[in-house]
């Protein structure tokens, strides 16, 4: 792909198009929408972690003045879920509740207070079942009955088991000079978006319209169609202005379906905005995860084999869990070259709010473990951990043992940048002060769609008429700035300014499909689709202008600075419309097949990986155990930064979120309940608690990204967490082998050290899990970069899965 010079809009820092509206309070979020005759909805939620519903009596509630409708599970019996393999949720549960917060009944009333009073007046009779609150309990045979009795044919609470062996593990370990085992625990945490989930539905003339704060208008569209039994052409889903998701609004949710149903029943618009506490119950956040590593290395620290086991606490429902379990293991290989790799993972159901994708989706746990594990290996060998990591870096343009294709890779550049800027090698050595280094990689969009199909993942239309240009795309701007990126790409190609491009996004009636804002896919995929559509439009404009100018060679027509040839852009639009009639072009993007020839190879491949490296500086007080982060240096391989201001914003956001996970955030349960479902008691750093962050953008110009761009939304969170733990070790000589690093854990580790025990605090063992026989996969040739049909053709000859 040719890289245009930077006189256009790509590569320039524009502030967000909607910045002013958001700062001035003009932006209309879902909860700001008020329609005439609107009703308010409240959802009655389970007050026991695990129970059968014996009866629901809503008669008293129905008699309350102002109550218009009450529905229960009987009104919405069809189950749904984001993944086709996990259709295990009901909008309202009819027979059983699986966590405190599970939706049971919903009320539509004239105002929120009345709806809340009606919920309080609904009598639910429960038969209590034994709650399952830990991974260990979930692995055992269920006391009463499994949590998801109809979605598991097992007597225990195991949801998913995966087991793979890539390459010859035994030979790998045999070649090792040194083998080490470690166990880690990554605590669960939640997204904590500023805006609570909110949805409002209206049913008019047989058509349902839903405005929602969602990351995935398309998947909400599908779920509404399924559960409400309406064809998709009768439903319109509009993504309202978004106040933050981070993965927490990537599932279809009960309240979205409930307001749809209530609007259909009452003939009035119905709105439901979750309380902050309910947002903690909607969750879909980070899976608490136990990790066990066994790795063989040569004397000089080169990895010969790695065996990873993970166990994920999934909460009560599937959500993205079947994918999350893969993500704890699959991406280990795109940062470090692992010649033989065995990965076994299990996800269990527990009676807690369902876990799912939070920024980094499954990979922060594995990243945390592998970075600390390699640090320990290096210390044991008497080598510099940074050097050991560097020796094992993957090579750009190579294929990993588990068939992932690595293209552009700026790991080395990122590492060099942060080491230099932080002065890591010359850092002050004193008890209580330390620095830690870690790296990471993340996908620029998943290589496969959530439900199997061969259609594009992103579709874009560009329309030009006598009034100018408009871009239509289903992509949802969730604050990351995807609207700005689409405008910049169209502006670049059409030679105009981004603010002169009109955007219509995230409206299923008006825009072509984009799968959604998850998996860091929008800039890469919708961006590529926009690029294709805009280039086609540019060609039409150039052709019409050339024709009018009497120029035969289209190359002679310059596009840029608001002009096409000798005409202004507006004149060019008139000329082209006169010449061709109505003008509309389209673009679409679908990643090629990248995964290997084995079942489950669809999770992990991405058309490009971003890379990051971070150094964290801490003060760790040996007396109190309090860890204070002084500064974070982070370098991110963005491929090409279309808008550096937005990219730096994403990187800083990732760092801040990573620090919260490293030092304080905990989705803790006590007596079957979430311990602190509030913004005050669930500790997450505010901006006053965030240290200075110095960001470096590394541009490797990826061959497949739009203008060479890759992702920025998730990757930069990943290295921050292990870098904090490594810095604490550097400061105090003890390991906290779990998140978050609370002061007490630091003191416990120091105490262990003082008593001559291993200088650490963390899990001691990994539970026995019936993983079963692994799927054995022969590794590809490391320089085999084929994708798509070429790759598939090769599967015939390569001995793939046994």
């Amino acid at each position: 792909m040719t890289v245009p010079d930077r006189t256009g809009s790509v590569g320039r820092s524009y502030p967000r198009l909607d910045g002013s509206a958001k700062v001035r309070g003009q932006a209309v979020y879902a909860d700001d929408i008020a329609l005439p005759r609107m009703l308010h909805c409240k959802i009655l939620r389970a007050q026991a972690p695990h129970a059968r519903i014996l009866s629901i009596d809503a008669s008293a509630a129905r008699r309350l003045p102002g109550v218009v409708a009450i529905i229960t599970g009987r009104d919405l019996p069809i189950r749904f879920g984001i993944l086709p393999v996990s259709q295990d949720e009901a909008a309202l549960e009819e027979h059983k509740v699986r966590y405190v917060g599970d939706p049971v009944a919903a009320v539509a009333a004239v105002d929120e207070e009345t709806a809340a009073a009606a919920c309080e007046a609904i009598e639910v009779e429960y038969e209590l079942l034994t709650p399952v609150m830990t991974i260990e309990e979930a692995l055992k045979e269920a006391t009463d009955e499994p949590i998801q009795e109809s979605f598991s044919r097992r007597r225990d609470n195991i949801h998913r088991l995966v087991s793979y062996e890539f390459g010859d593990l035994e030979a790998g370990f045999a070649a090792a000079d040194h083998v080490r085992e470690d166990v880690f625990f990554f605590q669960g945490n939640t997204h904590l978006p500023m805006e609570q989930h909110s949805a409002i539905a209206s049913h008019v003339d047989g058509r349902l319209t839903l405005w929602s704060s969602t990351q995935v208008v398309h998947y909400v569209h599908r779920a509404l169609s399924r559960v409400l039994e309406l064809p998709m052409n009768r439903i319109r889903v509009i993504g309202a202005v978004h106040g933050g998701g981070f993965g927490g609004k990537t599932d279809p949710f009960a309240h979205e379906i409930v307001v749809g149903k209530l609007a259909m029943l009452t003939g009035r618009p119905v709105k439901c905005t979750l309380t902050r506490e309910e947002v903690f119950y909607a969750h879909r956040g980070r899976h608490p995860t136990l990790l066990w590593y066994r790795t063989g290395v040569t004397r000089d620290g080169r990895i010969t084999a790695m065996h990873l086991r993970t166990a994920l606490d999934g909460g009560a429902y599937g959500s993205y869990g079947a994918a999350s379990v893969f993500y704890t293991g699959t991406l280990q290989t795109v940062t470090y070259d692992i010649p033989a790799y065995k990965f076994e993972g299990v996800r269990v159901y527990t009676n807690k709010a369902p876990c799912g994708p939070k920024r980094g989706h499954g990979t922060p746990q594995g990243r945390f473990g592998i970075e600390l594990h390699l640090e320990k290996i290096a210390h044991e060998l008497g080598l510099d951990p940074v050097e050991v990591k560097r020796r094992n870096f993957v090579k750009p343009f190579s294929r990993t043992v588990n068939w992932l294709r690595v293209t552009s890779c700026g790991l080395e550049e990122c590492t060099a940048k942060v080491l230099e800027a932080s002065g890591y090698a010359q850092r002050e050595r004193r008890t209580g002060h330390g620095m830690g280094f870690a790296i990471s990689a993340y996908m620029s969009g998943a290589g496969t769609a959530i439900y199997w199909n061969d259609m594009p993942h992103s579709e874009v239309q560009v329309k030009v008429d006598r009034t100018g240009a408009t871009v239509y795309c289903g992509a949802m701007d969730i604050g990351q700035g995807s609207d700005m990126v689409l405008a910049q790409i169209a502006a670049e190609e059409l030679g105009i300014e981004p603010r002169d491009v009109r955007l219509v996004t995230a409206d299923t009636d008006l825009t072509p499909v984009d799968l959604g804002s998850y998996s860091s896919r929008v800039t890469f995929m919708a961006g590529n689709a926009a690029l294709e559509a805009a280039r086609k439009m540019r060609a039409l404009l150039v052709e019409a202008v050339a024709d009018r100018m009497g120029v035969a060679d289209l190359e002679e027509i310059d596009v840029g600075g608001g002009r096409i040839g000798e005409f202004s852009f507006e004149e060019a639009c008139v000329i082209a419309t006169t010449r061709f009639g109505a003008l509309s072009t389209t673009g679409s993007y679908k990643p090629p097949r990248i995964g290997g020839p084995f079942k489950g190879s669809g999770v992990g491949p991405s058309p490009a990986y971003s890379y990051s490296a971070a150094v964290v500086d801490v003060e760790a007080d040996p007396r109190t155990g309090i860890v204070t982060v002084g500064k974070v240096w982070i370098a991110h391989d963005i491929g090409r930064s279309i808008n550096p201001l937005l990219v730096v914003g994403q990187v800083e956001g990732g760092v801040y979120m990573g620090l919260g996970e490293a030092l304080m955030e905990e989705q803790e349960y006590r007596k079957g309940l979430h311990k602190w479902p509030s913004m005050l008691e669930y500790k997450s750093p505010t901006f006053l608690d965030t240290p200075p962050i110095e960001t470096f953008l590394v541009e490797t110009i990826d061959p497949e990204g739009p203008y060479g761009a890759k992702e920025a939304g998730q990757g930069p969170l990943l290295p921050v967490i292990p870098a904090v733990n490594a810095a604490v070790f550097d400061a105090l000589g003890v390991w906290v082998d779990e998140t978050p690093i609370t002061p007490e854990k630091v003191l416990r580790a120091l105490d262990a050290k003082a008593k001559g025990k291993p200088p650490r605090h963390g899990p001691r063992s990994f539970p026995a899990v019936p993983y079963g026989e692994p799927i054995r996969v022969d590794p590809p040739a490391r320089d085999d970069l084929r994708v798509g049909a070429e790759l598939e053709a090769a599967f015939g000859q390569t001995p793939g899965a046994h």
Binding site: Q47, A48, T275, T624, K671, W676, L680, L688, D689
Partner: protein, 325 residues
Amino acid sequence: MLRLPRLRYLRPASAQEAATVAEDLGTRAMLVAGGTDLFPNLKRRQFDPEILIQVPSLPGIVKEAGGFSLGATVTLAQAAADPGLQVFLPGFAEAAGLVSSPPLRNAGTLGGNLCVDTRCNYYNQSHEWRKSIGFCLKKDGEICLVAPGSPRCWAVSSSDTAPVALVLGATVELTGPEGSRMIPASALYRDDGMEYLAKEPYEVLSAIQLPAEPGVRTAYVKLRRRGSIDFPIAGAAVALKLDGDIVVSCRIALSAVASHPLEVPGAGEFLAGKRLDQEAITAAAELAAKPAKPLDNTDLTHFWRKKMVRVVVEQALAAAAARSA
């Protein structure tokens, strides 16, 4: 969102009128000043009054002979930024400036801070949450969930300014329907998570008198997870008088380790007559920490908090000593 219950809101013209109305209305009404403590609690239905009585605006900060008089409606931000307090009673200004967050300090008052409800993470939860886990003694229930065998509530006194008021020997003015009375700040509190104030519910705390004795150095050290917003999970207030480096007198009080601001006279008395060196500080802190009994009902673990009491006392002693008299 969580909504306030429907309330009537009264705005009496004076503290005395407020007290009169409050007495008449009894348990149907509550006093409110800045509302930064009460409003979230009402949203969670921790109280169910029908009527709120606004504490009327009272005089500001007045420097008097021997100290300061502060109207109860002085905001925390005003107290923290007051040049007189910063010079003469820096420990008090410091405590006010460490309460919650900047916006809440602009609304929250000193009177509200001295009367702030005791806290417990089984109690500062929504009605639905408390119903799910089972209501506790402090509201609607029969048992304490932190200490199930105990007949009393152990909710935590979480005011940052109260321990400083105690060590300064402050006096508070309580206004009732019949007029005002003055009591020592230490007499305002009871060691009970539920009935934590030893005043009539209708009495308005109208003013606080802070003596500023020459030579007294003050400091307040607060422990919390996030410096930006959190309540204390342990804190130490110190008022120290030195002659050279010999301690003439010393008072120490703790926040957030009991149901009342906890003065630890033994530790202060121990220091009197001693040279304030590291050894003395360590020993005094050890003594001060003894009566602290944090329970598992705030942020972070109570084992750790118990250990940290010594640390905050040491830090407060050192900070006070380092101040110019």
